[in-house]
């Protein structure tokens, strides 16, 4: 009997919790907040997918090259006679060259994908700017109503209406202000992404050029059977640093953008 009572109590608690959860889910949030939440989520998602566009394939190729380099280093360290390891080294160099050439082939497709993401962000930015226009129109209407209030004969009604309208105008102005801050963050994200786009393009260009450098080095080693002129490709240090710091900046800005949504009133007016 006691066990049965315990089950009933636990069941009731679960039911109440579920009921309250359903209720909380049903509370309508304001249109403005809903729109801002949607835009913030989309911006975050688009920025992240921008930073992962085509990256998996490139990462895989570079990881392979790193392994091949390790193997070449091992070969040289263990070799007693350098001439004896020229052939296996040429094979490894060929692997690295082909890998960089593959990245070079991927370039147009990746650039196209990046362009698509930038266009998506542009659309979202436009949507946010449209929202400000809508809110400004609504504020103007309220101000018009406030002006026309002088026609009201009853003083008490006039005072109540004035107080209400003044508060509504104030809220609207605050809402516009929050949207403006939101847009300024969105703008910063857009600019950061555009900079990252330029950096990634240069980064890919250097990788493609390195494919040519490797191909050249490979041909020399093959023809002369001499390894004096081995790998010495163009440095990517500057672009690498930029890409790492831009990703950190972007994550921080997306976090700020998400926080901005919470500044708006939660419930429908």
């Amino acid at each position: 009997m006691r066990a049965l009572r315990r089950y009933v109590v636990v069941g009731l608690v679960i039911f109440v919790a579920f009921f309250l959860g359903t209720l909380a889910g049903d509370i309508p949030i304001s249109h403005s907040k809903e729109d801002m939440k949607f835009v913030a989520e989309r911006v975050g998602f688009t920025a992240q997918s921008f930073y992962t566009a085509g990256s998996n394939q490139v990462y895989y190729q570079i990881e392979r090259n790193l392994k091949a380099l390790d193997e070449i280093i091992n070969m040289i360290e263990k070799a007693e006679n350098l001439d004896a390891i020229i052939d296996p080294m040429v094979d490894k160099l060929e692997e690295i060259t082909v890998s960089y050439e593959h990245i070079s082939d991927l370039r147009p497709q990746i650039e196209e994908e990046l362009r698509g993401k930038i266009e998506e962000l542009q659309e979202l930015l436009k949507k946010s700017k449209d929202q400000i226009r809508i809110l400004e129109d609504e504020k103007l209407e309220l101000e018009e109503e406030l002006k026309e209030l002088s026609l009201e004969q009853d003083e008490e009604i006039r005072n109540i209406r004035r107080r209400s309208l003044e508060m509504q105008v104030e809220f609207k102005a605050k809402e516009i202000q929050i949207w403006k801050e939101f847009i300024s963050l969105e703008d910063k994200i857009y600019e950061t992404i555009k900079n990252a786009d330029r950096t990634i393009k240069k980064f890919l260009l250097v990788l493609s050029e390195n494919a040519k450098v490797y191909r050249g080095a490979l041909e020399v080693v093959r023809l002369q059977r001499d390894i004096k002129s081995l790998v010495n490709f163009m440095s990517l240090q500057q672009f690498s640093d930029e890409l790492i710091s831009t990703w950190q900046d972007l994550q921080y800005l997306i976090e700020l953008l998400t926080q901005e949504v919470n500044k708006l009133p939660a419930f429908r007016e």
């Binding site: 990256s55 490139v58 090259n65 380099l69 040289i76 081995l230 990517l236 240090q237 990703w247």
Partner: protein, 82 residues
Amino acid sequence: MEKGETRRGFRKIGWWIILLVMVIVFFLILGGSKRWEWFSPPRTWSDIAILVQEVEEKTQKLNQILQEALQSVREKESPSEP
């Protein structure tokens, strides 16, 4: 049901279990391999940049080792030269 039939039934189930475990192991190995990293999040360009920095360090090391190796070859060759 006879004793022999029961044993055969268990053996059949055993084979199915082994097959299932093998399939799971196969997919785990496939999933963990480089080309099919289903369980890991997608790589970012920042991850690539970090990897490229490693490549640059390795290239520098390779060049350095190579120079040292060539130097020692030259040193070995020079005393025998007239």
